[in-house]
Amino acid sequence: MPARRPGQFRNARAAFGRPGLTEASANIAGVNELVSVRGISKAFGTVKAVDDLTFDVAASEVFGVLGPNGAGKTTTLRIIATLLAPDAGTATVAGHDVVKDAERVRATIGVVNGGMGLYDRLTGREILHYFGGLYGMRSAAIEARIAELDQLLQLGDTLSRRAGGFSTGMKQKVVIARAVLHDPQVIFFDEATSGLDVVARRAVIDFVKAYPSAGRAVVYSTHVMSEVEELCDRACIIYRGRKIAEGTIAELAAQGDGKGLEEAFFRLVNRYDTSRGVAA
């Protein structure tokens, strides 16, 4: 596991390390794999976006989903997040099937994507109350959680100002607060740092490092090798919808003959293309 760096969210582990707020998080006891994906496939017309993908994410780990744009990362995450139905295969989150028990899965997860979308005419506090309500939280519980997240993420002005006037950094704080408001067991980060400046990007990375604990995990999807190297305990590499490698970061990097993860990635991709008779 890579060393944790001190940063903005250095106290996050302590903050998130207490018993979960939701009923779903109480049900996790005894489940080792928080996310389990078994042979999922998804096609859009004739294009196979995800092809027979299998992986597990255990509690307390940051699991990377690495691949170039269009590899099928977002489709995979959307299937696990219950937004897309797989054509084949199964997936579970905290033991709940993503198709048969979608609502429970959704209560268990949080999503941070690269869009950083917020409601321009609502204040940060109103946005958090809105989503808290959708997660079945009572107003007092939401307020208490906002107070915790304010300390953790330094939400400050964002709570009273309308999101339309937010800087990228302010948006990113509220987006993260929204994703963890209900204390989810699994958070999905999908290209979450794209478009962020260096300070905001660092804040996301610090947060991801701090979040996992005994009952929690992070699934981090990106095409940026350095982020995977810094953040992830394990990762799988997805290419043309298929998993072409999986292991700890050290195991994956070893395939690059000491030249790092990026070199390993290109070697694996080339090997895959060669085996399939595709020109590199």
Partner: protein, 408 residues
């Protein structure tokens, strides 16, 4: 379906729209102001123009001015017409020198005095309101003159003028008070209500669908543990709130406009102007029952429009794209509403009450004119309710379809 979640979803959309000043102005302020202005302004403008033309002395071009007999001159003067000699009647009307011109042939007076007949020409622009108004004044002058000539001839023959009118025709207006006061512009009321139902809900519907996609918030919303039916219900309630409130503002505008017109303006107008104002529907007065029937109709219409807007706007990828999808919907209301003014000529059968939208427009028109029946209302409202449920299913289907949610 959990009411707390639905209300939470609706509340957010309502707050979002309420904070958009443009939406408030176009939804609530404009109908409340524009409807009375149009209701009062249009009949008043036409009424006062009509009255002005009646009392203003208008120049009438005349070819053969020397041929005009003294009695005809007197008839023209009595009709507030002044003769202006011109050389070419057509040209004078065409170039705007006069609105109407007459041609009096040589020997006109002598022909009539000899017991013969003569032909005069009246040149005017058909389709030009001012020209036609003055033509009617000219025709009135000729008619008065003709009556005098005929009376003179009958008198010379020892006969009374009544010998020519053995039958007197008296027309009686059989329309109800509501029909009379709604005038010929009653169709404008369903038109106003329908248009504001659409414009009122439009912004909220687009913001809650394509707007969510464009901002990237739709995915986050759908990842929350809410059911799609709850999402549709919440957004539907919010859209309908604004569609209905805009329609209610339009109804309030009609009530205010009618009251102001009836109590303050019509009593101060001359006979000609107030007659014209009544014909144009300026003295409309809505009873509480009519207002209630309009509100129920507006409620169902806004529900229909809201479900339709949500279903359609969900297809769009952006706010702009959604606007281009919903813009043609205005024709759905404008064309039937405009056709309502010819409803009597078209001769619609009862089956129209089974056609959504058209039925509610006709019902509102009938209700305003005091000729709507309970049976028509029940059929219309029942059909609209079924249509709303079908459209909500359509919207829900779109909110569930991956190809619509992630359309790119």
């Amino acid at each position: 379906m959990r009411p707390r979640i639905i209300l939470s979803l609706a509340r957010k959309e309502i707050i979002s729209t309420l904070r958009d000043t443009r939406a408030i102005v176009s939804n609530l302020v404009i109908p409340l102001v524009l409807v009375p202005v149009m209701m009062i302004g249009m009949p008043l403008l036409l009424g006062s123009l009509f009255e002005r033309e009646q009392v203003t002395v208008t120049n009438v071009g005349v070819v053969g001015e020397a041929n005009v007999p003294q009695e005809l001159r007197a008839a023209f003067t009595a009709a507030n017409l002044a003769l202006e000699p011109v050389t070419d009647a057509d040209q004078a009307v065409r170039d705007g020198t006069v609105d109407v011109a007459v041609v009096i042939p040589g020997g006109f007076e002598a022909m009539l005095a000899g017991g013969g007949s003569a032909t005069v020409e009246v040149h005017s622009k058909v389709g030009n309101m001012k020209s036609e108004l003055n033509t009617s004044k000219v025709q009135q002058a000729f008619s008065d003159y003709q009556s005098r000539v005929v009376a003179g001839r009958l008198s010379a023959a020892g006969l009374d003028a009544s010998v020519l009118r053995p039958v007197t025709v008296r027309t009686v207006d059989a329309s109800s008070q509501a029909e009379r006061s709604s005038g010929q512009l009653s169709w404008l009321i369903p038109f106003f209500i329908a248009i504001w139902t659409l414009t009122g809900g439009q912004m909220t519907a687009i913001d809650a669908t394509a707007g969510e996609k464009e901002r990237g918030t739709l995915e986050v919303l759908l990842v929350a543990p809410v059911r799609r039916a709850e999402v549709v219900a919440g957004k539907f309630i919010a859209t309908m709130t604004f569609g209905l409130s805009a329609a209610l503002m339009a109804i309030l505008g009609i009530v205010i406009g009618g009251a102001v017109m009836g109590s303050l303006i019509v009593p101060r107008l001359g006979e000609g102007a107030s007659g014209m104002v009544n014909i144009m529907g300026g003295s409309i007065a809505l009873t509480p029952t009519i207002v209630l029937a309009l509100i129920v109709s507006a409620l169902l219409l806004s529900a229909f429009v809201s479900a339709l807007l949500l279903g359609i706007a969900m297809f769009a990828r952006s706010f702009k794209e959604a606007q281009s999808y919903v813009a043609p919907l205005s024709f759905l209301f404008i064309l039937p509403a405009v056709a309502l003014q010819f409803k009597d000529l078209i001769g619609l059968s009862d089956s129209v009450f089974y056609v959504p939208v058209l039925n509610v427009l006709i019902l509102m028109d009938n209700v305003v004119r005091g000729v709507g029946t309970g049976r028509e209302a029940l059929i219309t409202w029942g059909v609209m309710l079924v249509a709303v449920l079908l459209l909500l299913r359509f919207a829900l289907r779109n909110f569930k379809r991956e190809s619509v949610i992630f359309r790119s």
